[in-house]
């Protein structure tokens, strides 16, 4: 199970974040809601996103 949080800030901007998904699948999950709401002006990947991407890279190296 994963969750999406849509946070409406007092300045009128909105943040969309994902919990429970990693790497590219995280971006896929929010694509539709971001497009429906407006224009993405900032996109920060957290350590959780990068950590899993690194594991994927190691797996590919070991398998080659």
């Amino acid at each position: 199970m994963h969750k999406i949080v849509v946070k409406i800030l007092p300045n009128g901007k909105t943040e969309v974040s994902v919990d429970g998904l990693h790497g590219a699948s995280c971006k896929d999950a929010t694509k539709a809601i971001e497009a429906a709401l407006g224009k993405v002006v900032d996109d920060k990947k957290t350590s959780e996103y990068h950590k899993v991407a690194k594991v994927d890279a190691n797996l590919r190296q070991e398998g080659s």
Binding site: T14, A32, A36, K44
Partner: protein, 151 residues
């Protein structure tokens, strides 16, 4: 949490704007081409969010494609819903004297209206993607969080 996207809201869905109006007790006045305001641009407001600094020609103040008003209050000003070249809409309003009752329902800077709009867009969009709406949390700083789960 693996990524956080910040979005500048663009009004792309009249369906959600209508729903937001209904939720707040506002009238969405479909196809109304003028909105009620002071009637003359006094050049007395030039902050960053002034309409003329956001792509609205002052000579077109008072003109719109739809309007939003307060039912049963003939004195209240209205919000103009103005179609943009890219197909999105901008909201324009005169906040003099709180729009004589308008801002009570829309919130200062139309903040209540925009929160209701974003909430409706999020629910409609994420429902189609298989998410369930869990609930709303109001934070101390005035932010509002909407939580959605996906099994």
């Amino acid at each position: 949490m693996s990524h956080v996207a910040t979005v500048d809201i663009e009004i792309k869905s009249l369906e959600s704007l209508r729903a937001a109006c209904a939720a707040l007790g506002l009238d969405f006045r479909e196809g109304q081409k003028t909105y009620k305001w002071y009637g003359t641009w006094m050049r007395d407001y030039s902050s960053e969010n002034a309409a003329y600094r956001n792509g609205i020609d002052p000579s077109k103040y008072g003109h719109c494609d739809h309007a939003i008003g307060v039912p049963g209050n003939d004195r209240a000003y209205e919000v103009g819903v103005v179609l943009q070249q890219d197909g999105s809409y901008k909201l324009v309003w005169d906040f003099y004297c709180g729009g004589f009752g308008l801002m009570d329902l829309t919130g200062h800077d139309c903040s209540k209206l925009m929160k209701a709009y974003v909430g409706d867009v999020a629910k409609r969009t994420l429902r189609k993607k298989g998410y369930s709406f869990v609930g709303t949390k109001e934070l101390a700083d005035g932010s509002v969080e909407l939580l959605f789960n996906h099994a």
